[in-house]
């Protein structure tokens, strides 16, 4: 689907951002990416979406080399990216206009554009804001507009760069739920975050440090890896609690750490007299 072969990238001032990355993202995968500030997560996102080109190595998006200018339109159609700060990607006066911008640039006929916009509005539940200016919406709503703007181009792969970091947990969850629904419909998702809590259900998690992928595995193995803790990344409270309980001889199975309800259920099963 998207493949990185020996990819390195340095900023214009020479600071290396990514070092010799090999990565294969498969169709339909939900890949979580986590790491501290400056670990290279955002650079990875920009390379995956073809917005940055590698200085060494190759990035192939469904067989298209991102360094080949003639493939650019095909790549844009295929991969969409949503950023942390939605403001950076607004262009239209109203939500509707903003959503139409992408499909217009793909030169779709007007009827088709309208369909794309309506579908994107429905998927993000933004219908009632279609005539509002994105500027008059709250932070969370704006993030949804940014997501809808990308959805309107009907990409098969979506990349999210810390989209929830400026939202309240409920709206963060709501955005994540929307993203999970898109995943169920078959979209490939790359989800970058600070918040491990959001990656409990991911198919695969990449942990980045200093421009390298240091861990690559399923959530259960990644969460319990001591390397993660040495990086100072905060574990979700319930995972941390389960980890501490384990040291005291109480084992909480991984699936029970997914929600407070499940966790409490397990504690009751263990310690409530029947």
């Amino acid at each position: 689907m998207i493949r990185l072969e020996k990819v390195s990238y340095s900023y214009p001032d020479g600071t290396p951002a990514l070092k010799n990355i090999n990565l294969d993202i498969k169709k339909g995968e939900f890949v979580g990416v986590i790491g501290k500030n400056g670990s290279g997560k955002s650079t990875l996102a920009l390379l995956l979406s073809g917005l940055l080109r590698p200085q060494t190595g190759r990035v192939m998006v469904r067989g298209m080399d991102t360094c080949d200018p003639s493939k650019l339109k095909g790549i844009r159609k295929f991969v969409g990216i949503v950023f942390q700060n939605p403001e950076t990607q607004f262009v239209g006066r109203t939500v509707e206009e903003d959503l139409a911008f992408g499909p217009e640039n793909l030169c779709l006929p007007p009827v088709e554009i309208r369909k794309c916009v309506d579908m994107a509005l429905a998927e993000t539940e933004l219908e009632k804001y279609r005539h509002r200016s994105p500027k008059t919406l709250s932070g969370g709503q704006r993030q949804c507009v940014a997501l809808a703007g990308v959805l309107a181009m009907r990409p098969e792969c979506l990349i999210f760069d810390e989209v929830s970091s400026m939202l309240d947990p409920e709206s963060g969850m709501a955005v994540l739920e929307t993203i999970k629904k898109l995943h169920k419909k078959g979209k490939t998702i790359v989800y970058i975050t600070h918040n491990l809590e959001e990656l409990h259900d991911a198919d695969r998690i990449l942990v980045m440090e200093k421009g390298r992928i240091r861990l690559d595995g399923d959530p259960e193995s990644v969460f319990s890896d001591t390397f993660l803790q040495s990086l100072g990344l905060a574990l979700p409270s319930l995972t941390e609690l389960a980890e501490k309980l384990r040291m005291h001889g109480v084992t909480i199975p991984w699936e029970k750490t997914s929600s407070p309800q499940n966790f409490a259920e397990e504690i009751c099963r263990l310690f409530l007299k029947t």
Binding site: M166, P169, H248, A264
Partner: protein, 278 residues
């Protein structure tokens, strides 16, 4: 003396087709020295509320008094220190020293007094003195946020109002800010913060104000917030609530992983004792 809001309403773009109501009939009282968390979903009106405290926004109807004064008076600007969500937005000087000294100098403090206040503020947020000569924009996100807080503290405010002070910071940066705010509160300054980060803030909050669609949905102590079963709750508190609902005797005031561990281990030993007896 407290901050008092009586029947306050506010709309954006008033008397235009884009008029958007933000707050309706807010009655609120915030005492000096409290640690208050303002919670609510996106677009609920939390940030709008804080901007009313010091006159950045004027209420459409209703009355606001800060220690008996009108929020637009100069005295209130000194009494209330504001820190906005993006610290970088409110930093503009060449050095951290100039940044923190800006407020006191504008309020007519002498150079000597200003210097005293800069050192006091930098200490309050536990920043190293060596940052004073640095460019604020060369600092990390957490450090920048602490400079923004120090700038507000340099006016020796009675109320420190913050909008999402730990959003977007990494875990270490979050911890630094939480510790600084705890210390500031202990010295007697009221800390009023808009936050979504219940996991970080819940152990510190004394009073909670929950805003829903422009109205106050809950206002009271953290304990009554738990009792009434309000949401949102941080994961640990939520799990503890579930345990209590299922009849397990755990302390409802359990907010941290360490406390929860202790509570569960108590359950474990009680259970084992019971088993041994049988």
């Amino acid at each position: 003396m407290p901050i008092i809001l009586e029947n306050v309403s506010f709309s954006y773009s008033r008397k235009t087709p884009l008029e958007t109501p933000a707050l309706r009939n807010i009655n609120l009282r915030i005492e000096k020295g409290e640690f208050v968390g303002i919670l609510g979903e996106k677009g609920a009106g939390k940030s709008t509320l804080t901007k009313l405290f010091n006159g950045l926004l004027k209420p459409e109807t209703g009355k606001i008094l800060v220690d008996g004064l009108d929020p637009s008076s100069k005295e209130v600007k000194r009494k209330i220190g504001m820190v906005f969500q993006q610290a970088a937005d409110q930093l503009f000087c060449k050095t951290v020293y100039q940044e923190i000294a800006f407020g006191p100098l504008n309020f007519g403090c002498s150079k000597r007094e200003t210097e005293e206040r800069v050192y006091e503020a930098i200490e309050a947020v536990s920043l190293d003195l060596t940052v004073l000569t640095r460019d604020p924009f060369s600092l990390s996100g957490g450090e920048m946020q602490r400079v923004a807080i120090a700038s507000a503290l340099a006016l020796r405010p009675d109320y420190l109002v913050l909008d999402e002070p730990i959003t977007g910071l990494d875990p270490a940066g979050k911890k630094e800010i939480l510790e600084a705010l705890k210390k500031i509160k202990e010295k007697g300054t009221a800390v009023i913060t808009v936050t979504h980060n219940l996991k970080g803030f819940f152990p510190l909050l004394e009073t909670i104000v929950l805003i829903k669609e422009g109205k106050i949905a809950f206002q009271g102590s953290r304990e009554s917030y738990l009792e009434k079963g309000c949401i949102p709750l941080p994961p640990i508190a939520s799990m503890i609530k579930e345990l209590r609902a299922r009849g397990l005797p755990v302390n409802p005031a359990t907010f941290t992983v360490e406390d929860a561990l202790e509570e569960i281990l108590k359950l474990k030993s009680a259970f084992e004792k019971e088993n041994n007896r049988n």
